[in-house]
């Protein structure tokens, strides 16, 4: 197990290295010159040159990359080109908000998705199954901003129960996490259903039934534990998606997390902030993947990574 963990962590290093190269290169391939943008529209050429020098943008790309890498390894993601604030500080302020939103969404997704999936599987081909699958399809298909705006319209404008934007209290969390969690709930419901169906067809379930156990016990004590193993994988990956994919939800609900930070930074061409945000998201993904794999190994005694 420990060897496996070490191997997984080592494998993450080249992945992160690759991510850093891609992030660094991609952002410099977009047309436009950050020095010009910073200097403003009416700046003279020499002013622009001076800014370029002061930012190190006059250096060849590989040299710029090495500086960038060195700083990142020292935990220095640079400063925002626009307000001079350290990127690390900005991320430290915003990331926890996105994490909060992502976990709340995951909670919503799990609370809806797993019971719905179990219900569909245990009532296979009945109206319950059809209903769950139709709703799951709708949940995946509905655009996030459409759902978000309609939730605001009903629960905030018409009924006045919940705030439409902001992030201060748990009440602010409800609408955005339902919005963000819906698609994940749909994915989890489908995953739970198919996994459950597979397990219910296994020999040990038949054995359990044969020895006269009540159906409830068969489903929840014997089948569910095994059926949830692949679901855990999906949950972990969903969390990654939620953390990074919160951009639209954060925009609709004016939730100042890293999703919106990323959008703002891209629009302002704030290189260091864009780089830092993407690196953070990528790192989160890699870490989550490792965690999921480890959990998988713990849950399923058949899986032994040696």
């Amino acid at each position: 197990m420990w060897r496996y963990l070490a191997k997984r962590l080592l494998l993450a290093v080249p992945v992160l290295f690759g991510v850093s190269v891609v992030v660094f290169a991609a952002i410099r391939l977009i047309p436009g010159d950050p020095a010009q943008i910073m200097a403003g529209q009416a700046a003279t050429q020499e002013v622009v040159e001076e800014i370029r020098r002061s930012l190190g943008l006059d250096q060849p790309l590989p040299v710029q990359y090495l500086y960038f890498l060195r700083n990142v390894l020292h935990g220095d993601l640079g400063r925002s080109l626009f307000n001079g604030a350290p990127v690390v500080e900005e991320l430290a302020q915003r990331f926890p908000r996105t994490v909060r939103l992502a976990f709340a969404s995951l909670l919503v997704a799990t609370l809806i998705g797993i019971p719905a999936g179990i219900a569909a599987a245990t009532h296979r081909l009945s109206w319950v199954d059809t209903l769950v699958m139709v709703l799951a399809l709708a949940g995946i298909s509905v655009p996030v901003f459409w759902l978000g705006l309609n939730l605001i319209l009903v629960f905030s404008v018409r009924l006045g129960w919940l705030p439409a934007f902001g992030y201060e209290t748990w009440r602010h969390l409800i609408l955005p996490s339902v919005t963000l969690g819906t698609a994940s709930a749909a994915v989890i419901a489908r995953m739970t259903r198919s996994s459950m169906l597979e397990v219910l067809g296994q020999d040990y379930v038949r054995t359990a039934r044969a020895k006269g156990l009540p159906e409830r016990a068969v489903v929840y004590r014997h089948a569910l534990r095994n059926a949830l193993i692949p679901v855990v994988t999906v949950l972990g990956l969903q969390l990654g998606t939620l953390l990074s994919g919160a951009v639209l939800t954060e925009t609709v609900f004016a939730w100042p997390g890293i999703g919106r930070l990323l959008v703002e930074a891209v629009l302002a061409r704030d290189y260091p902030v864009v780089q830092g945000t993407i690196l953070l998201i990528a790192t989160t993904f890699v870490v989550l993947n490792v965690v999921v794999d480890v959990l998988y190994a713990l849950l399923d005694p058949r899986i032994r990574y040696t």
């Binding site: 977009i30 403003g40 009416a42 307000n83 439409a164 934007f165 004016a254 100042p256 919106r260």
Partner: protein, 525 residues
Amino acid sequence: MNRILLGVGILGLLVALSLPGQSAPRGPEPGGTLIIGRGVDSVTLSPYATAAPDAEVIAHLVETLYELTPEGRIVPKLAESMPRVSADGRTMTIRLRRGIRFHDGTPFDAYAVKWNFDFILNPENRVPFRGILLGEVTSVEVVDRYTVRLVLRRPFVPLLAHLTHDFLAIHSPAAVERAGGMRPPNGEPYGRQPVGTGPFRFREWVRGDRIVLERNPDYWGPRKPLLDQVVFRAIPDDGARVLALEGGQVHVAVRVPPRETTRLALNRALRIDRTNSVRTIFIAFNNQKFTDVRVRQAFNYAVNKRAIVQTVLGGAARVSDAPISPGIVGYAPIQPGGWPYDVNRARQLLAEAGHGGGLTVTILHPTGRYVQDAAVAAAIQAQLRAAGINARLQTMEWAAYLAYTNQPVDRTPVEMFMLGWGTVTGDADYGLYSLFHSSQWAPAGFNRAFYRNPQVDQLLDQARTETNPARRADLYRQAMILIWRDAPWIFLHSESQTTGVRREVQDLVVHPTERILAHTAWLRR
């Protein structure tokens, strides 16, 4: 006896208590928090922020020597009176109001003004627009504690208008020092916590979420601020911003999309304010690629500006009849009703220019920066087809867009592009000199159309030094007639600002320079 007196007294008191608020009209009430919902958060609150949303917040905190009223007049603000300009036009003497203090308690005086202007004049500080705003000023002198004198290289008539520009507002030098100075290009770290003389003081900024200002209890002005707080909240999604207004979570929503206005007009808790803006939207040609004036004119004939304003913009705009908008000093309608729509004339001109078989062009346009910008571009594309012009549309995100259209003439691949310009000083110089003078070609200046007409150059130069207002207006009129015929742009429209406001909000000013001002606003309860 006592009992009767007491009874009468109580009765009187009850009457007195019940009267106000029922019969007597109520005046402005102090207190409360005004929440303004807008599309973006500020980038910086430093003095030299170029984006309009930044200027909007700053305008509550700091003040300029002179002020441009919403009606387009220039009036003294921190200055006590209109400036005295010497006979040769080479000095401008300004008397300042006495007894004003910055929010940090330090006094506002001639030394503070000199400090601010010296900072801008120092080329090392790289203040954008320095050349345009203070270009002819060589030095700033303190005559006495409450008098400053600007010394000019040569007469520079737009200077007074430029003194209303937010970049030339007066900040507390002590506060700048305390914050650790202003570093180029955006004046951070001071820009996180600006200190001026304005009706509101900076209180808190939660990035990406809100900026909170609080009342300045020691405000010097004749109209004291009434609100306890003004909060600017960033709600990027248009739909969500409008819903927040309907739900009462914000009092004001800026940039209400045209498709929402009819529905909102039915809501009795709100009103929709339409305010003119000094911003003009146009599609510029690269005039060094489109050298034939007949082709440029043909495009102007081929676009039905009125139809665009009525359908795409829901009437929230005004067809351009000059290169700048009404309300600006020097504006004159050059062609009433705008450039006429005439497809046949367009075809004929194109044929004369040797494009009888049609023409293919690429038009760049932003998306989300101006009201319905992408939809306007699409409408133009459709209309051009009728004239035999095949237009390809291309869009980019805003920062890349600005950079892409700002390349030198020998390198730029740009053929045509949409842009808007706000003449925020209210004076034609800022709108015409910057965009049409040949000394202002990109990337050094804002003449991205690479337009050059020596006659226009001469008229614009002359107008900068012409002190007689009537003659100066005439110079601008002549210049605009030439520009109009040369058609370096497709002249489109001036935007209106569509603002949703809840009924309880009183005396809020939506300024033509695209700023929401809460200086005198109050909330009816």
